[in-house]
């Protein structure tokens, strides 16, 4: 699934990394707890979270992720977006809740 498809499925706003939307992702994880994201080192390329702070970007960076999706209408500030831009991460924001956002991606084929 491309990040463009992720954006469309979640009716998400692109906050940074518009030029990287053709990137393909095959796996995702959803968590508000960054130590859990770090605990399960796999190849998740997409992080869905309701937590908004720079550590979300740092965690995604450490795990070689491609995209962060902020759920529940959360909006990161400029400092967070600057950091994400610098690390070449796509940042999306959706009004969907975590459960729904994960479910929508799952039924559309993102199942790892």
């Amino acid at each position: 699934m491309t990040l463009k498809e992720v954006r469309d499925i979640l009716h998400a706003e692109v906050l940074c990394g518009e030029e990287l939307l053709d990137t393909e992702v095959r796996s995702a994880c959803g968590s508000d707890f960054m130590s859990d994201v770090l605990a399960y080192v796999k190849n998740q390329a997409l992080l869905l979270t309701g937590l908004v702070n720079p550590q979300v970007v740092r965690t995604a960076e450490m795990m070689d992720m491609k995209c962060i999706v902020f759920v529940r209408g959360k909006q990161p500030d400029e400092a967070i977006l600057d950091l994400a831009q610098d690390r070449q991460l796509v940042v999306l924001a959706t009004k969907e809740r975590m459960y729904n956002a994960c479910g929508l991606l799952y039924i559309n084929g993102l199942r790892e």
């Binding site: 130590s35 859990d36 994201v37 605990a39 080192v41 702070n53 550590q55 960076e61 450490m62 795990m63």
Partner: protein
């Protein structure tokens, strides 16, 4: 030793929003050295959890990363309050972190267990009132 590269970082305490800058620096340096991505990721997780610990518990410290031909050794040294019971601190879920740390997505007692999980060797030396040194070795396959 010619075959070893050493990176050192000063980790500032207190400012949680900047925690992770040293880990980010290490990650970028290891990428430039062309290390295997899975090794880089394991080093990154160990270093990042350790850095968060130094920031939240010890008001910062120093990080030294030695990159050799066979392994990467991370040494984190602080002059913080020390750990009274290391075995207890190693237990998943045991935490002394403040609520403000949990707001960042950390502080639920997974830091040291994660560091142990992703390193091949880990030692924790600590003296209450003096400080803590954590050494982690990640082997290059």
């Amino acid at each position: 030793m010619d075959d070893c590269i050493t990176l050192t970082y000063q980790v500032e305490g207190g400012d949680l929003s900047h925690a992770g800058e040293a880990s980010s620096g290490v990650k970028q340096a290891l990428r430039k050295l062309g290390l295997d991505p899975s090794v880089i990721r394991r080093v990154s997780v160990c270093m990042y959890e350790g850095e968060i610990n130094m920031v939240i518990h010890a008001n910062g410290g120093t990080a030294r990363v030695d990159v050799g031909l066979d392994d990467v050794t991370i040494t984190l040294t602080d002059t913080g309050p020390g750990i009274p019971d290391i075995d207890k601190a190693m237990q998943a879920g045991f935490t002394t972190a403040a609520d403000s740390v949990r707001d960042l997505g950390f502080g639920a007692g997974m830091g040291l267990p994660n560091m142990k999980k992703y390193s091949d060797e880990m030692t924790v030396e600590s003296t209450v009132g003096v400080g803590t040194t954590v050494t982690m070795v990640v082997r290059i396959e």
